[in-house]
């Protein structure tokens, strides 16, 4: 794959044409370096000529009638330091300029310690804007992220949505929310990130592990959600979004408020409530898929140029109904579900949420402080405490449905210290130490054996990163990181499971007590993980080329080590293994970006080789009193993934534009020569945007999403005798759990109109998702055996900015 991209890059390098007429143009945007907002009234001047332009309210400028040649361009803005750049204009050129604020106005944009700012220019990343976030106000983080090329989602129903970055998810994707690495039992494929999407103002996805200061185990990537920054001036600002949806017959209300003072002091508050009833597929109601969510966050802080602090508390509370029909007893029930094409429970619409359901509360308390030193750099210290309480309710006998079948409390303390040295303009370096203590408590009152045992985990990590700007168009970054993990668990095993796993040979010394049928054991493991990264960015005219080479290492998660039990949602028995060790990935990615006159495109390609990749594989059938179950065991293998993400845009005119994204991924288990399971199928999205200025700035968006059938999948099918109730005989039956669903195509529409009111700006948007009420199932939905995805949905949204 790399070859393919190096070749055109060289081609373009040699295709520099020399026109000799003075009709060239230079255009682009002037951008605020700190928050990527556009700067109006900036002047862009070609020195030693009379040519100049002033940026408009969109930050856009254009200078025409330029003769080919070498120029010195000066960009200036009243609030900013002037910038002078050498630029060679041989063709019509498009270039964006980023300006740094003057010191006296810097405090208006600089608000906090740069604990998690992205400085590595070569990082292969994508961002979603706050407009997109607002559009998804009543949906989830995963839904909003799937609009990006190379990002898809792994769903359980329609409300539990996990982001998948270039084919990887769960423990392989780190989520940094408000500067804190989220510890919300992310190992579970049906555990959605405990983030209120309305609390984020800006979300960045880093594809791959290149951002080492966030963690060394980001084999898939890193998602960084940042809250609204507070300005340093006397102001009260806020935003309220009210969303109503026809599918689920409910909606969402979200409000954000910031009170800030000239002194740098600020207070923040944010809250949202969500209530949806049963969702509806085109042909039936998806019974028990309602959701209820209440989130709040408060914060205060002080921002001076030299120092500052931030104190923050947030609480995320959600109750999610799990499709009633997806709770089954054995393989016969599963076969029945697969063959019937319709859920076995279809009741009337209700807002009630019954078992099976999840009830999760995630709390975060964070204190963060920074101090700058002249001619040296900056020191950041942050302490964060997270409490994640997850309760899962099953269908149970004897009035026990009110008692959770799983009740875990995960507490995480985390202390990060980072020291940045940036005395030189073209070189900066950072070192950091991160200490983590985690305690998991599995409440025994459930009366159900623990899925995840009680454990304590200590982590110590150290990293070093550096950025070097060789010239205006060549940048380097590098980093290394070491993570030490110590896990100390207290796990009960059935004597029979202990024997079946042959643990007696290797782990006889960890047995603490024998309870007859069960053994209490004390597994204690240490893991050492090394990660490293090297990146380079090269800019040539309107081209930008990024390349990253990195290795990342991840210690096994508790589920991979200790899982031991029956999953009612997919009728299988999942078994972890104490012998599992860390996995190590080696990834090369490259990205080419280019802006033409009306065109812009962005192509990235990657190759990821993972040594000792941990995966869940079928390993035979176990008989129980309920009947037969396939057993899935965690094992280690070697894997490789490669793929390409493409984004192309074309501006027809000031009014009309077109955008297309495409993603392909290919995953293979190289030890067993078979495809990896759950790889996202080819996804191709196209959208047409039309703005009518004279109609109150009406904006219309028609989009299409084409998802192809995944043709590469491992064959995990098995045959087992299943009762044919018509004859009473048992028949050898093929249980087809592997075949991905067919391709599907969805159309969506959105119309948006802003209104200037006397005191505020009101934005009204109406969208229709799945316009043709198409019935379809998605390969990356764990409930695809039971029910279709949701049908047509009208969404009305009112947004107030004040």
């Amino acid at each position: 794959m790399i070859k393919i991209f190096i070749l055109p890059t060289f081609l373009f390098f040699s295709l520099v044409t020399h026109a000799q007429n003075c009709n060239l143009s230079l255009k682009g945007y002037v951008i605020d370096l700190h928050d990527n907002s556009v700067l109006e009234n900036a002047s862009v001047k070609l020195e030693n000529t009379s040519l100049y332009a002033i940026s408009n309210n969109k930050g856009f400028f254009i200078i025409e009638g330029i003769c080919p040649g070498e120029y010195e361009v000066t960009i200036s803005h009243i609030n900013c330091k002037s910038l002078t750049k050498q630029i060679n204009i041989e063709t019509n050129t498009e270039k964006n300029f980023s300006l740094e604020h003057h010191l006296q106005s810097l405090n208006e944009v600089l608000i906090k310690g740069e604990l998690y700012n992205i400085e590595d220019k070569s990082t292969i990343s994508a961002q979603i804007s706050h407009e997109t976030i607002d559009q998804f106000s009543n949906a989830t983080l995963g839904d909003a992220l799937s609009t990006l090329p190379g990002v898809s989602s792994l769903n359980t129903g329609n409300t539990i949505v996990k982001p998948v970055i270039q084919g990887l998810h769960s423990s392989r994707v780190l989520i940094i929310n408000n500067n804190v690495r989220m510890e919300d039992q992310q190992w579970g494929v049906d555990h959605a990130p405990n983030i209120d999407i309305n609390s984020a103002a800006n979300i960045t996805v880093i594809k791959g592990s290149s951002a080492l200061e966030y963690g060394g185990d980001a084999i898939g990537g890193v998602i960084i959600a940042e809250p609204q920054k507070a300005p340093v001036k006397d102001t009260l600002m806020g935003k309220t979004i009210l969303t109503g949806a026809s599918n689920g017959r409910g909606g969402n209300l979200s409000t954000n408020l910031i009170k800030a003072y000239e002194s740098g002091l600020y207070f923040k508050a944010q809250g949202s409530i969500k209530r949806l009833g049963d969702l509806e597929a085109p042909d039936y109601i998806l019974s028990n898929t309602g959701v209820e969510e209440q989130n709040m966050a408060i914060g205060l802080g002080l921002n001076k140029i030299k120092y500052g602090f931030d104190v923050f508390y947030s609480r995320f509370d959600t109750e999610i109904g799990i499709l009633r029909a997806s709770h089954i007893g054995n393989v016969s029930d599963l076969v029945r579900a697969i063959n019937s094409q319709e859920p076995s429970f279809i009741n009337d619409f209700t807002y009630d949420i019954n078992s099976p359901k999840q009830d999760v509360v995630h709390q975060l308390l964070k204190v963060n402080t920074f101090k700058k030193f002249s001619n040296f750099g900056q020191l950041d210290v942050q302490y964060a405490y997270q409490n994640n309480r997850r309760k899962e309710f099953d269908i149970r006998r004897g009035d026990r449905s009110g008692i959770p079948a799983l009740d875990l409390e995960l507490q995480t303390h985390n202390l990060i210290t980072k020291l940045k040295y940036d005395k030189f303009e073209n070189f900066s370096t950072k070192v950091g130490i991160e200490l983590t203590y985690q305690d998991n408590f599995a409440n025994p009152d459930t009366g159900v054996r623990r899925l995840i045992p009680d454990y304590e985990m200590y982590k110590v990590a150290g990293f070093w990163t550096a950025n070097y700007d060789h010239s205006d168009n060549l940048f380097f970054n590098a980093g290394i990181r070491y993570d030490f993990t110590h896990i100390d668990a207290q796990k009960f095993y059935f004597q029979s499971r202990w024997d079946e796993r042959n643990y007696q040979d290797d782990f006889a010394d960890i047995i603490v007590e024998d309870f007859g049928t069960q053994l209490l054991t004390n597994p204690v493991f240490d893991y050492h993980n090394f990660s490293a990264n090297l990146g380079v960015q090269y800019n040539f005219k309107a081209w930008e080329w990024n390349t990253n080479i990195g290795t990342a290492s991840r210690a096994p998660n508790p589920s991979e080590l200790f899982s031991d039990g029956l999953h009612h949602s997919i009728a299988n028995i999942e078994i972890g293994d104490l012998r599992i060790d860390s996995e190590q990935s080696y990834k090369v990615s490259t990205q080419v970006k280019r802006q033409f006159n009306r065109w812009q495109f962005d192509i990235s390609a990657y190759y990821n080789f993972i040594d000792d990749y941990i995966l869940l594989e079928p390993g035979g059938i176990e008989q129980t009193i309920r009947g037969a179950f396939p057993v899935f065991e965690y094992r280690q293998t070697n894997a490789r993934l490669f793929g390409v993400d493409v984004n192309v845009g074309y501006q027809f005119s000031d009014e009309a534009s077109f955008n297309s994204t495409f993603a392909y991924i290919n995953g293979e288990d190289t030890s067993r020569n078979r495809p990896l399971i759950s790889m996202p199928p080819v996804n191709w999205q196209n959208s047409l945007n039309y703005k009518i200025q004279q109609w109150h700035n009406l904006s219309l968006l028609l989009s299409s999403q084409m998802v192809f059938e995944q043709m590469r999948f491992p064959d995990d099918n098995f045959t087992t005798p299943i009762l044919n109730p018509d004859t009473g005989d048992f028949e050898e039956t093929l249980v087809d759990i592997s075949q991905p669903p067919e391709a599907y195509h969805l159309m969506n529409f959105r119309a948006e109109m802003p209104f200037e009111l006397s005191f505020t700006e009101l934005q009204v948007a109406l969208s229709v998702n799945n316009i043709f009420d198409t019935s379809y199932r998605s390969y990356l939905n764990r409930q695809r055996f039971y029910a279709d995805e949701i049908g047509r949905n009208f969404v009305l949204q009112l947004k107030l900015n004040y």
Partner: protein, 211 residues
């Protein structure tokens, strides 16, 4: 209480070598470090005790079908899975039945992981509307089953039944306990589980000879 050596603030500070930093920052930093150590120490004290063993109450380990003929002769069929959902294979046994005989049948569910064993039958009887036991003979097996009990809605439950054998034959009798079946679906009240839905709590196939 565990000692956490790497969190000793003194070592920690000297490792970092931040001596060139101003005193005030040092103090803030040190304070934070110490506070964290306390927080760590506090939580690690809280549940150092050995976790409590969980003997699942709901698990069904044993199903016993008892058949009594008019002469008081008792035949049994049983399926026992000593470790619930664990890896041990269940043990299935069934007595031979006599030809052309009417048996009064009953079924019992036990959880033998508890000591003394818990009788799950009572729970099933109490939640009769949410349960049904199905008896499905294989095609070549001369047996018919009739329900003898009803739930509060007048639908069959299946804890008590009559089993009538025909001429000598051999085949399979499958006994299924379904939780939350749709009792008004077609055929369900006649003992056909095809449209019953719900989830299977017990499924046992008894190979039986009618002699």
């Amino acid at each position: 209480m565990k000692t956490i050596q790497f969190l000793n603030p003194q070592n920690f500070m000297s490792n970092l070598n931040l001596k060139q930093l101003p005193m005030k920052t040092m103090k803030t930093f040190q304070l934070l470090a110490i506070l964290t150590v306390f927080a760590f120490a506090f939580t690690s004290c809280s549940d150092d005790d050995a976790p409590q063993v969980i003997n699942e109450e709901e698990v069904i380990t044993t199903m016993t079908v008892t058949l009594v003929d008019n002469n008081g002769t008792v035949k049994t069929m049983s399926k026992v899975d000593a470790d619930g959902d664990g890896p041990l294979d269940p043990i299935i046994s069934a007595d031979d039945l006599d030809a052309n005989t009417t048996y009064t049948g009953s079924v019992e569910f036990l959880n033998q992981l508890e000591d003394p064993a818990e009788d799950i039958t009572a729970e099933v009887a109490e939640e009769d509307e949410e349960h049904q036991v199905f008896y499905v003979p294989s095609s070549n097996f001369n047996v018919s089953v009739q329900y003898n009990d009803q739930d509060a809605n007048g639908n069959p439950l299946g804890l008590d039944f009559t089993l009538t054998t025909g001429d000598a034959s051999s085949g399979t009798l499958t006994v299924i306990l379904r939780h939350e079946p749709i009792k008004d679906a077609a055929g369900v009240s006649e003992g056909d589980p095809t449209n019953a839905g719900g989830e299977t709590d017990v499924e046992a196939a008894f190979e039986v000879d009618i002699l």
